[in-house]
């Protein structure tokens, strides 16, 4: 702009040299004045500019400082994020499109038991348990197509072989063009929850089984009850008829007839005893057998039972002796006590040869117990048989014993009854010397065990 001004002035002064010179001078003076004014203006302008620059500089400085701060903050936040990432209670993974594990936080390491170094050498499929592998492949396909996944239930295999149940959520991270780069995957551990669920289910299943068993037990009891009743009903006329035949009510019998009818009678008795024992055992097992527990004198409770057994022993020329002090008491059910002693004494008579001496005695033990013993001087029971004697339907093998066949239930009934009354039963035998069966009973009612 100034150059243009010069040029114009020179172009206008071309005729009189003096005038021209004066003019020139004047012009120059003007010019100078102008210039100096311009200079001043320029200076001002420059000054202004400098101030502005300074201002800008300051602003820049500030901006730089702010930037620095921002960078610092960013760094801090990144560190924070990193630590958050690492110490988060949920497992984070990052998986690339080749299924390689690119990142894994501490929780992920803890969850599956691998270190990050180990993770880096694995594909994501190596993490899943067999049952989740197919699903894992499907889900990986979804991720590669850019789809998110949420709360997919997966089963993982820990390094130590244990199963881990997790809820998997996956977000695909994409570049500007929308290409999937990697995943941001989160796995929430629900193993505890699953275990609790499983335990709950197992508990419910067990309850069902228990209920079913109870139902079966009750059905069995009902069945046995019906069967025994149905067996007992026809036994009544059989038994009575045999009795009438034998006592001559229905006319005289020949010896041969009588022999066979007595055999029938023995078998009917056996059947009657068996049905009673099976019924008793079934009731005891199902808890339907009711005991009437009382403190009683053993002598009194057993007197009539043993009187009958003495009569029975006579037919085999055996003897039953009874030696119980009147003062000895037991807390027991009198019927059950009768069944036990009848069974044991009866066994001692029928399983031994003629002329066996059976003795029944009782004495006090320590700890509030009484012991009842039924001893015989018979041929004894082999040790291997003794162990199984109380098992249901077990019968001791004897080579030289009499031909009597028991039901195999009697001793099982005895054991169940003794145990129902809080006692214990055992047998001891020496071949050729005899056998002793002992059972204990509480001497009196235990506190707090009232029925």
């Amino acid at each position: 702009m100034r150059r243009l001004l010069w040029g114009n002035n020179l172009a206008r002064s071309s005729n009189n040299p003096l005038v021209e010179a004066q003019l020139q001078l004047k012009l120059l003076q003007e010019e100078l004045a102008l210039s100096s004014r311009g200079m001043a203006a320029l200076a001002l302008e420059l000054e202004n500019k400098a101030v502005a620059l300074d201002e800008t500089n300051k602003q820049l400085q500030q901006e730089i400082a702010e930037h620095r701060q921002a960078v610092e903050a960013l760094k801090k936040s990144e560190a924070k994020y990193e630590s958050l990432y690492n110490s988060a209670p949920v497992a984070y993974f990052s998986v690339d499109t080749n299924a390689l594990i690119r990142r894994a936080n501490k929780a992920a390491e803890a969850l599956l038991g691998y270190t990050f170094e180990e993770f880096r050498k694995m594909t994501v499929f190596d993490l899943y348990a067999e049952e989740s592998k197919t699903k894992a492949r499907e889900l990986f396909g979804e991720f590669k197509r850019g789809n998110s996944l949420e709360n997919e239930e997966m089963v993982y295999n820990r390094k130590d072989g244990q199963e881990v149940h997790g809820l998997l959520s996956v977000n695909p991270i994409k570049d500007e063009e929308g290409q999937v780069l990697k995943s941001r995957s989160v796995v929430v551990d629900i193993t505890g929850h699953k275990k609790a669920q499983k335990a709950q289910r197992e508990l419910e299943a067990q309850k069902l089984v228990v209920d079913k068993l109870k139902e079966l037990e009750s059905a069995k009891d009902e069945f046995i009850s019906t069967v025994t009743h149905e067996l007992r009903t026809p036994m009544t006329p059989l038994r009575s008829t045999i009795e009438m035949l034998l006592d001559g009510s229905l006319g005289e019998l020949t010896d041969r007839q009588e022999k066979f009818i007595r055999m029938m009678g023995r078998n009917v008795e056996r059947l009657a005893q068996f049905t009673t024992e099976v019924l008793t055992l079934s009731r005891l097992e199902s808890g339907r057998f009711k005991l009437d527990m009382k403190r009683l004198s053993l002598h009194e409770a057993l007197a009539s039972v043993l009187e009958l057994m003495k009569q029975k022993a006579q037919s085999k020329k055996s003897t039953v002796s009874f030696n119980i002090d009147a003062e000895i008491t037991a807390y027991a059910d009198v019927n059950s006590l009768g069944i036990i002693v009848t069974n044991l004494v009866n066994n001692a008579i029928v399983h031994n040869s003629e002329g066996t001496a059976v003795s029944v005695s009782a004495h006090k033990l320590d700890a509030g117990l009484v012991e009842v013993s039924i001893a015989d001087d018979g041929q004894g029971i082999p040790e291997e048989s003794l162990e199984n004697l109380f098992d249901r339907f077990y019968q001791a093998k004897r080579e030289d014993g009499p031909g009597y066949q028991g039901t195999g239930v009697g001793l099982a009934v005895c054991k169940a009854l003794v145990e129902a009354m809080d006692g214990k039963i055992s047998g001891e035998s020496h071949i050729g010397e005899g056998t002793v069966f002992r059972f204990t009973l509480p001497a009196q009612e235990k506190k707090g065990t009232e029925e």
């Binding site: 059989l238 009575s240 009539s304």
Partner: protein
């Protein structure tokens, strides 16, 4: 009724749905010299009891139409249990059944299968006008055998 048995003149009603059991009871008691009438269920028993007087009733518990228990209830309502002793016969051998039988007014409770002698002795106990000590003796022997 055979000619050689001496008649006591006492009459017994047997109530049981099993013909075989009735046959046996009839034989035992007829042999012992009693007049015996049979009923095959509770309904029939009540009809017979309404028209005739008996000295003893042997009553089965489990019967169709009208059970022994129902017959007892009926007799109890009519106030007839004080006149006629009733012996309950049953295959139900549980304590609670026996207790229920006695609560229902039974004079005695016999579990099947029974010994013939038990029936004979009970008939004697209720019908033969025995002395107290003779009666006690019978009871003592019966208690022993029923274990």
């Amino acid at each position: 009724m055979s000619a050689d048995t001496e008649q006591t003149g006492k009459s017994i009603l047997i109530v049981d749905d099993e013909p075989d059991v009735r046959l046996i009871l009839n034989a035992i008691l007829t042999c012992a010299g009693y007049y015996v009438t049979e009923a095959s269920d509770g309904q029939e028993a009540l009809e017979i009891l309404a028209n005739r007087k008996f000295d003893l009733v042997l009553l089965d518990l489990m019967m169709p139409h009208l059970t022994g228990e129902e017959v007892m209830e009926h007799l109890h309502r009519e106030g007839r249990l004080s006149d006629i002793p009733v012996i309950m016969l049953t295959a139900k051998a549980e304590r609670k059944d026996i207790e229920k039988g006695y609560e229902g007014g039974a004079s005695f409770y016999v579990v099947k299968p029974f010994a013939n002698n038990t029936i004979k002795e009970l008939a004697r106990y209720f019908l033969d006008g025995l002395t107290e000590s003779e009666k006690e003796n019978i009871l003592f022997n019966l208690m022993g055998t029923s274990g």
